[in-house]
């Protein structure tokens, strides 16, 4: 996979490739229509949905205003339940902590559930590099691991692939097990068979977290496959990797967010599995992990508090903005070249990286506002993308020609007489390029327009000329 710098040009190139990939396009169409319709239905069935969104937004604001306090409360509650919390400033630090836990508990076989924070850390690669046997247990993630790819979507990581892709992958990597043909059921059986062996072997289960509950020290996790539960139930050691903004004050808050999460993501009332993990196995109990560790990653997030980007910390990773974004629909998740794709990724990714990497993804939006419309916690994504554009413009990271043109246009607009003359000139130039009232080929910047569509020729006079004539 290309890491990419996220420049407009790189995104443009990557999206062009994606648009020419028919399989991908079919998969993206299915994703958007499927999840889009399911969400619409789920919301129609829940009249209080908008009221819940407002409440969720308030609770997020409140929690972020008191974030250090709730994180401290969470740590204490985890400790009371016999677990530990570890703090990491950077993904690298978080990886080292997890490795340290593997060493401490003498674990070499690790089963991992999908976690975007895990992706942010590139945790599986890191542990594999260190010498551990790490297997992704989310079916989508497992397929990606075999293909050495990265997720293209937050909740449906392998959405860019179809059944044929998966059958090919299994044929190529499962050896003699890979004989189940191309039927979906056979493929699932095949993966299940493989993964069950790994679950039985595992000494450590690594999961992500959807919510961290400060009052009880509970980690709330939703899945549709039950793979996280299987890992945590069988392995003696449970390690949670999460980012700091996932903390919520109370269990009641967690349930409020859960009501919004699945409906926004997949259109389900609630996901198939909703697991609450609190601490390690109690004395005298017969199940649960022997140890319970939570690694909390900051990764640049605390810098967003009190900044213009703070609201992106409201995000509950439902993927609704991806599922409804017309740009994401064409480009696919990989084109973004960042861990987090789509509109939320265009806002969050640059904040998680050093310097200006990925910042230009904010250009890849028409500001149609659909992402904000569907966001369950009402994050004003276009506004936040505009802030990144302002930063890029302000510190000269946006392309030179673009800045010159913007400044030139603004200057021209402040001089109405000159503006009128330039528009008149433009009008006559455009007319000269036209045939039968249409322009089919423009030079320079206009080439982008006429690449795939025509442009109507302007009439002989502008409105202002006609208006003046009439006076």
């Amino acid at each position: 996979m290309t890491a990419g710098t996220g420049s407009p040009k790189r995104f443009r190139e990557a999206s062009r490739t994606a648009l020419n990939n028919e399989r991908l396009q079919r998969a993206m169409n299915r994703l958007q229509s499927g999840f889009g319709e399911a969400r619409a239905q789920a919301i129609a069935d829940l009249p209080e949905f908008d009221a819940l969104r407002d409440l969720a937004r308030q609770r997020k604001d409140f929690t972020l205003r008191h974030l250090p306090q709730y994180l401290a409360a969470f740590e204490q509650a985890v400790r009371r339940a016999g677990g530990r919390v570890h703090w990491a400033k950077t993904p690298q630090e978080a990886n080292r902590i997890v490795r340290g836990l593997c060493q401490e508990y003498d674990c070499r076989h690790v089963v991992k559930s999908k976690s975007m924070v895990g992706e942010e850390m590139r945790l599986a690669d890191y542990l594999l590099g260190w010498g551990a046997d790490v297997i992704e247990t989310d079916l989508g993630e497992y397929i990606l691991q075999l293909r050495q790819e990265k997720p293209s979507h937050i909740i449906a990581p392998a959405t860019h692939l179809n059944r044929d892709d998966i059958a090919e992958t299994f044929q190529a990597t499962h050896g003699e097990d890979g004989q189940q043909g191309k039927a979906a059921e056979g493929l699932v059986q095949e993966a299940r068979h493989r993964l069950r062996q790994k679950f039985k072997q595992a000494e450590m289960a690594i999961t992500g977290a959807n919510f961290l509950v400060a009052e009880t020290g509970t980690v709330v996790l939703v899945t549709n496959e039950g793979n996280a539960d299987l890992g945590v139930t069988l392995a003696p050691h449970h390690v949670v990797v999460s980012s700091i903004e996932k903390v919520v004050p109370t269990l009641k808050d967690a349930f409020l967010f859960l009501r919004l999460l699945a409906r926004s993501a997949t259109g389900q009332d609630i996901s198939t599995y909703t697991s609450l993990y609190t601490g390690r196995r109690r004395d005298g109990a017969t199940d649960g992990p022997e140890t319970f560790d939570v690694v909390l990653l900051d990764g640049g997030r605390s810098d967003l508090l009190d900044s213009e980007f703070e609201e992106i910390l409201h995000c509950i990773r439902c993927g609704a903005c991806l599922n409804h974004c017309p740009v994401y629909a064409g480009a696919g998740g990989h084109a973004y070249g960042s861990i987090y794709p789509g509109p939320m990724g265009a806002v969050l990714a640059p904040a998680l990286n050093d310097g200006t990497v990925h910042r230009e993804l904010s250009q890849a939006s028409t500001f149609c506002g659909k992402c904000e419309e569907v966001c369950p916690v009402r994050i004003p994504l276009p506004k936040l993308m505009r802030y990144w554009r302002e930063k890029s413009f302000g510190d000269h990271q946006s392309p030179f020609t673009e800045r010159v043109m913007l400044r030139g246009w603004a200057w021209l607009c402040r001089h109405p007489h000159l503006y009128r003359s330039v528009i008149r000139l433009m009008s006559s130039l455009l007319r000269r390029l036209s045939h039968g009232g249409w322009i089919t080929s423009l030079p320079g910047l206009g080439r982008a327009w006429t690449q795939d569509r025509d442009m109507p020729a302007p009439p002989a006079k502008t409105f202002f000329e006609e208006w003046e004539d009439k006076r």
Binding site: R16, V327, S365, T366, R386, A410, W438, R453, P456, F463
Partner: protein, 251 residues
């Protein structure tokens, strides 16, 4: 909603968008006709240029502020400001107050203008009143432009108005609310994605069986018409002002 009840005739300042001025003056003339029919004087402030959207969305906030102040100065003394574009109207209504909120002198003036700035269809629907017109039988579909729809909530106003046009049959296309791919500079920066988006719209327009597509923003309309023309389809595009003013024949 208030019809002008006093003897003094109301005056509305007409905002002529950059695209309307250059590419489609008929839209502005249609607005003039519609406002005059409602008994409103139309004033076209002479020094208007651009509302500042390119600067604002391009990240140049200080030039966007300058544009905002320039527009406010020209329109603030009029009774109303009428804008035949959802995106320019949203810029003035939603973004000017935000842009100037920390400026002690200008904040109130921005709010004042925002309060009397109307997108055309909401003005006709809620303030001026619209008696309808007659067109020769036309089957049309309406494209919801993003800014108008999501920033100004213009879902029902245009449809209400089109419902008063005799001879016009409105059919809804699939995903009428989905972006056409124009997006200002977006269509120039990412032409392939923009083309993907407009191509989807064209399929939906074709599937609707309409003979023409109507929109409230010229940017969308030029994108849709340009693609229809390139593909050789005979479906025409109209700005809603042209239809409401009964100018579909000569547009």
């Amino acid at each position: 909603m208030p019809q002008s009840s006093t003897s003094k005739k109301s005056a509305a300042g007409l905002w002529v968008t950059c695209l309307v001025n250059l590419f489609r003056p008929s839209v502005a003339w249609a607005v003039v006709r519609l406002l005059n029919q409602a008994g409103i004087d139309v004033i076209v402030p002479k020094h208007q240029t651009c509302c500042g959207q390119p600067s604002y969305n391009g990240g140049d906030r200080s030039n966007a502020r300058r544009a905002a102040r320039q527009v406010i100065r020209q329109f603030e003394r009029l009774d109303y400001m009428v804008v035949p574009s959802g995106s320019c109207a949203a810029m003035i209504r939603k973004h000017y107050p935000e842009l100037l909120k920390e400026d002690r002198d200008w904040s109130a003036r921005a709010n004042n203008l925002a309060a009397k700035c109307y997108e055309l269809t909401e003005f006709l629907n809620h303030v001026a009143g619209y008696d309808g017109t007659q067109v020769s039988s036309l089957k049309a579909t309406y494209h919801d432009s993003c800014s108008g729809l999501r920033e100004l909530n213009l879902k029902t106003a245009p449809r209400d108005l089109l419902g008063r046009v005799r001879g016009l049959e409105l059919v809804e296309m699939r995903d009428a609310e989905r972006c056409c791919g124009f997006g200002g500079a977006f269509c120039l920066k990412y032409p392939e994605l923009s083309n993907d988006m407009v191509s989807r719209k064209i399929r939906n327009i074709m599937d609707s069986g309409a003979e023409c597509v109507i929109a409230g923003d010229l940017g969308c309309l030029m994108t849709l018409e340009g693609k229809l023309h390139r593909l050789g389809h005979r479906i025409r595009g109209y700005h809603i002002a042209e239809i409401l003013a009964g100018m579909e024949g000569d547009a």
